[in-house]
């Protein structure tokens, strides 16, 4: 990659989130806990989801990974905590669409807010999974939490 692509990957928003890691740490209570791994690089995240009715009250996490995967977890929790599951869905969908769009999808900043900073990572095959790790973990946790509440 060229140096200007490096800067588009490591935007300030990403470096800032990677350093601050908003909402990091595992907290109680939670309805679902999942552990996701990126087998190619070994990045790991343990993620807990706490729902109150339809509202995402908390997403807490513990991760080991690169700046892209750390920043992605941080941005995601900032975006989704406090929203209803239904409000979170279009954001989640838009993020997946951007990351799977091979850099061709024009992200909507109104929906994705800080998460548009990952558009640079979407162009790099090797980094897409880094950015998606915590988002896939959230999706898995949501399914489990909802199964739990159905029982």
């Amino acid at each position: 990659m060229m140096s200007h692509e490096l800067d588009s990957l490591y935007q300030d928003i990403i470096l800032d989130h990677a350093k601050r890691r908003l909402n990091a740490g595992l907290r109680e209570p939670f309805e679902a806990e999942v552990h996701h791994v990126n087998p190619t690089c070994g990045d790991e995240v343990t993620l807990r989801l706490h729902l109150e009715g339809d509202v995402i009250r908390d997403i807490s996490y513990d991760n080991q990974g690169c700046s892209i995967s750390s920043a992605s977890a941080s941005v995601m929790t900032e975006l989704l905590i406090g929203k209803t599951v239904a409000e979170a869905k279009p954001i989640h969908d838009a993020f997946l669409e951007m990351m799977r769009g091979k850099g061709q999808v024009e992200p909507d900043e109104d929906v994705l807010e800080d998460a548009i900073a990952f558009a640079g990572a979407a162009k790099l095959t090797a980094r897409i999974k880094c950015a998606l790790l915590s988002w896939m973990a959230y999706q898995d946790a949501l399914v489990r939490a909802q199964e739990e509440s159905d029982v």
């Binding site: 990659m1 990045d43 700046s67 892209i68």
Partner: protein
């Protein structure tokens, strides 16, 4: 330090580099390629590329079954590859050289056929298989599968703080119950060169067989399969300047003859009746189906190329570059090398941590400067776990690596620190 002051470098290094066309290309918008990922896969000299192209252009046919001129030429070229590999390994017999898909398949071949063997080689309930914590996953998982399926027990040597095998409990690990001792000659993560002969001697005292993963050793050390003391030696073609898609399993004749076939199919049989079949002798007993023909031809050219330069000379070059790299890396603030710090005790793969920057991010920044390294667990998760890290950055040199490329790496790491605003 300038190039001329480094003792042990290959003479005419620029001539050798000119043999590798890929080293001329640029990356990252015009920067010269600094390829420091040879432990992952090596680059290929022109002679290997040309030999393979020539085979495909002029001699292509299936082997051992085509009754025509091209069939004879192709068979001769394929079996010629086997002769060259046998010579490279100093194998007592060419029949002891089995071509596989890669080193992983070679290890799986041994692990599976030991479960199926009749007689003393058979690994079953109550038996012990010993591996080590510093193996590549390919020399752990096949043995986990074997022991899980047979009721045998898997044990392993640990690693000392300075990155050597911990032999303190060798008497406990290698006991009368031990059937197999398997280990890597050179660690792909720590770089450590292991005391193979000593461990082999202990294993043989209790009647165990010794399996040696030479995937990282064959590229950079002179290999003599008899002198090393192992019963089975495996390596992969693509790390010895050969093509992907081919690996080598060398085994002592008596051992290979006692092991049952691995895969069934064409070429591995003597005769087939619906009621049952009998099998070919070695090496073909273990080579079911159309083999990697052009890959064997290319591998033959590759090991000839290395032998022509001389494995002793290549080893000296690797040691000189490794010593220079260890010295340079340790000037980078916050950098910790994992594994032995003495170049004489190790191979040319150096894994390290850079405090405050994840290995992926290190590799990404280096890539923007044309420097190719590997980041991750290098298929050695247990070895990383031993040192309390999840992943590392790894540089690995080879016969074409120059001191200037090491300088580019060190400069790149300084740049990485500043890019991520480390003080």
């Amino acid at each position: 330090m300038t190039t001329t002051q480094l003792v042990g470098l290959l003479p005419e290094l620029e001539v050798i580099r000119a043999d590798f066309p890929i080293l001329e290309r640029t990356v990252a918008g015009g920067l010269p390629l600094v390829y420091l990922d040879s432990a992952n896969t090596s680059q290929k000299p022109q002679v290997v590329i040309d030999t393979m192209v020539d085979h495909l252009e002029r001699h292509n046919a299936n082997v051992a079954r085509a009754m025509h001129a091209l069939g004879a030429e192709s068979t001769e070229a394929f079996e010629g590859g086997r002769d060259r590999v046998a010579a490279f390994l100093n194998a007592p017999s060419r029949d002891e050289v089995i071509f596989t898909k890669n080193a992983s398949e070679a290890l799986n071949l041994v692990a599976n056929t030991l479960a199926w063997a009749q007689g003393p080689l058979r690994v079953g309930e109550g038996d012990v298989v010993v591996t080590t914590e510093m193996e590549h996953h390919s020399n752990i998982v096949p043995w986990q599968l074997l022991t899980e399926r047979t009721g045998a027990t898997l044990k392993w040597f640990g690693i000392t703080d300075d990155g050597h095998l911990d032999l303190a409990n060798i008497d406990e690990l290698i006991s009368e119950r031990t059937k197999v001792v398997t280990l890597t000659w050179v660690s792909n993560m720590l770089g450590t060169i292991n005391p193979v002969a000593e461990i082999a001697r202990r294993a043989h005292e209790v009647g165990a067989i010794v399996v040696l993963d030479a995937s990282q050793a064959a590229p950079q050390l002179p290999v003599d399969v008899v002198a090393c003391g192992a019963d089975v030696v495996v390596f992969t073609g693509h790390k010895v300047v050969g093509p992907t898609g081919i690996g080598v399993l060398w085994g002592r004749r008596e051992l290979l003859e006692q092991l049952p076939p691995f895969l069934g199919g064409g070429e591995m049989i003597e005769t087939v009746r619906m009621e049952g079949s009998t099998y070919a002798g070695i090496p073909h007993k273990f080579e079911a189906g159309t083999p990697p023909i052009v890959e064997a031809v290319g591998l033959g050219a590759a090991v000839d190329y290395l032998s022509h330069i001389g494995m002793d000379a290549i080893h000296r070059h690797e040691q000189a570059i490794t010593a220079y790299a260890l010295e340079g890396l340790q000037t980078v603030r916050g950098l910790t090398v994992l594994g032995p710090l003495d170049a004489a005790e190790r191979g040319g793969a150096i894994s390290f941590e850079l405090d405050g920057v994840h290995p992926h991010d290190v590799a990404q920044v280096l890539d923007s400067r044309g420097v190719a390294v590997r980041a991750g667990h290098h298929c050695a998760k247990p070895a990383h776990a031993r040192f309390g890290v999840q992943s590392s950055t790894r540089m690995s040199s080879y016969l074409y690596t120059t001191p200037a490329e090491i300088d580019a790496l060190v400069d790149g790491l300084e740049y990485t620190r500043s890019y991520f605003k480390l003080g």
